[in-house]
Amino acid sequence: MSNFTEEMIDNYADKLLIGLTEEERKMIQTEFDDIEKDMELINDIPNIKDVEVLSYPFEMEVSELRSDDNEGKEIPIDELLRNASRVEGREVEVPKVVG
């Protein structure tokens, strides 16, 4: 019996604003069972909790940050908006945002 119900998977997908077909949902369900087994391989490692997480490939530190003095060039509005699916004047248009 899978730990992952259809509702759970639909809920995850929905939060990512993705719709799933029945087939895709089934696929994910099967895969999740495999993946959870795989995950156990991570949790099997002794004393894993004591290890510090690694968020970068190696210990990177930057010694200098960006100077606030230099601004970028203004981007022409037609370049900025040419890929938008809906444009109104100088703005990008979407269906009305409620709430």
């Binding site: 010694s63 200098e64 960006r66 970028g72 100088r90 703005e91 269906p95």
Partner: protein, 475 residues
């Protein structure tokens, strides 16, 4: 009556030349989408690059709030979908904020109050949405504007305390030039957490969060409304109707309205942004920032009292707004007597400023140099105090300097003794009845006689001088 427990999350737009993670200008533009770098619209492949000025200012604020400052500056992603969030996440500091566990002491209604700071962190603002009939339009000018978010512990107990604290914080932002805190430009927003509990209880009540309240006045109303709403339910035995939820403040009705319940709370799936390597906050940097923290409001206030002998009340009025305090200091720098400058500012100048919500002291025609000039004219006895007030009014009306006004209206005090003497004689001869009355004990008649001399001199006689001469001759 119950005890209220209030926590605040106070967001404030920072001042900087460019945005916090991109090199687009951080400013205001009438043209939509003019101040936009590719990152601010989340174009594929764009990466954040951290602005040093914003980091330094954030550290400065953390220091002023007596926070612990971490070894490294790091940023995390707060993931959620919203049309105003082009990357699909907001860059913020969740795991390791720039300041934690701070504390400040403020004064509320004459009593000291300690306010505990949970944390302060640097993050980015979202784009802004303009709403129309059935569409909304996105303007990315605000996307990526630096924000400081200050989170208090739930340690405030009244709307007064909350507002006094926010005023205190606002003054720091202004004095350090970190933010203008301009409500009209939407530069501040607060999330307000309110719960109530029995006075003798140790157990916190159910916390209600009111999001995105955007003026001090609304924050006060929000707190007052929530305390009243929750208290009413509790006293009616319906406290179970107070639930953990997120509400919003409705300006029109002055009430709060349910937005979502706790069950609908979004899981933001925070994680450290791998695109931003750690930046070491060195001791040298901390020293440099510390050295450059300007004198803050309460420090200026103390200076005004001890160095300039101003009253506590006057000093407070002057430092309440940095621009006013700066104005005062400029007057003093230009040689004006501090007490006189304070009097002119707290009475006449601020009266002008308070005539409209739209202006600040910087918008008043009369500059500190003119106040200094005016004070000098009076001190040098070129004009009387009363004339000074007249000059002030005329300066505003005619946009001229004090010297120009005095000259134009020929207002300089008469220093010709003979002329004053002859005017006094004239007045005495014309007012025998008044002299009689004065001698019979109506002492206020003397002021009337001085007034007559002043009238004949067209205000140019020195009233003290005239009074002395009158007294001499009546005897």
């Amino acid at each position: 009556m119950y005890k209220a427990v209030i926590g605040l999350e106070f967001h404030c737009e920072m001042k900087s030349h460019t945005k916090v993670f991109s090199n687009a200008i951080n400013g205001f533009s009438k043209l939509s989408n003019q101040l936009v770098a590719p990152l601010d619209m989340g174009f594929p492949g764009t990466l954040p690059v951290v602005n040093k000025t914003c980091v330094k200012k954030a550290i400065e604020m953390a220091m002023i709030l007596n926070c612990k400052i971490p070894e490294y500056m790091e940023f995390d992603r707060k993931n959620y979908f919203y049309p105003d969030l082009p990357k699909g996440y907001q860059l913020t500091q969740f795991f390791n904020p720039v300041g934690v566990d701070g504390k400040v002491v403020i004064e509320v209604n004459g009593k000291e109050k300690e306010v505990l700071i949970h944390d302060i962190h640097l993050e980015e603002d979202s784009a802004s949405l303009d709403h129309y009939y059935d569409t909304s339009n996105i303007d990315y000018n605000r996307s990526g504007v630096p924000l400081l978010e200050l989170v208090t512990e739930p340690c405030l107990n009244s709307a007064d305390e909350a507002i006094e604290f926010l005023e205190y914080i606002k003054r720091i932002y202004e004095y350090t030039d970190i933010s203008d805190c301009d409500t009209k430009k939407g530069q501040i927003r607060a999330d307000v957490n309110v719960s109530i509990m029995d006075n003798d209880s140790k157990e916190l009540g159910t916390k209600v969060e009111v999001k995105n309240v955007n003026s001090f006045d609304s924050i006060r109303k929000t707190i007052e409304y929530e305390i009243e709403r929750q208290s009413k339910l509790k006293s009616e035995g319906r406290y179970d109707e107070v639930v953990q939820e997120t509400r919003r403040f409705d300006d029109e009705t002055g009430t709060t309205i349910h937005m979502r319940s706790k069950a609908d709370a979004i899981d933001y799936k925070y994680f450290t942004d791998p695109n931003i390597p750690k930046y070491k906050i060195t001791n040298e940097l901390l020293e440099e920032i510390k050295k450059n923290i300007p004198m803050l409001a309460h420090e200026r206030k103390n200076k005004y009292i001890s160095e300039y002998n101003l009253s506590e009340y006057d000093a407070k009025v002057l430092v309440k707004n940095k621009k006013v305090s700066d104005y005062f200091e400029e007057c003093v720098r230009l040689g004006a007597d501090a007490k006189s400058a304070c009097n002119w500012i707290t009475t006449k100048v601020l009266a002008e400023v308070n005539k409209s919500d739209e202006i600040t002291i910087d918008d008043v025609f009369i500059r500190p140099s003119m106040i200094a000039e005016l004070i000098k004219l009076i001190a040098d006895k070129k004009i009387t105090n009363n004339q000074g007030k007249e000059v002030f009014t005329k300066m505003l009306e005619e946009h001229l300097t004090p010297v120009e006004i005095v000259k134009k209206y020929n207002m300089e005090i008469l220093e010709d003794d003979n002329l004053v003497n002859s005017l006094v004689d004239e007045v005495l001869s014309e007012n025998e009845k008044a002299i009689e009355d004065y001698k019979n004990g109506r002492t206020n008649m003397l002021d009337y006689l001085v007034g007559q001399v002043m009238k004949k001199s067209r205000g140019k006689a020195n009233p003290v001088d005239a009074k002395n001469k009158l007294l001499e001759k009546i005897k």
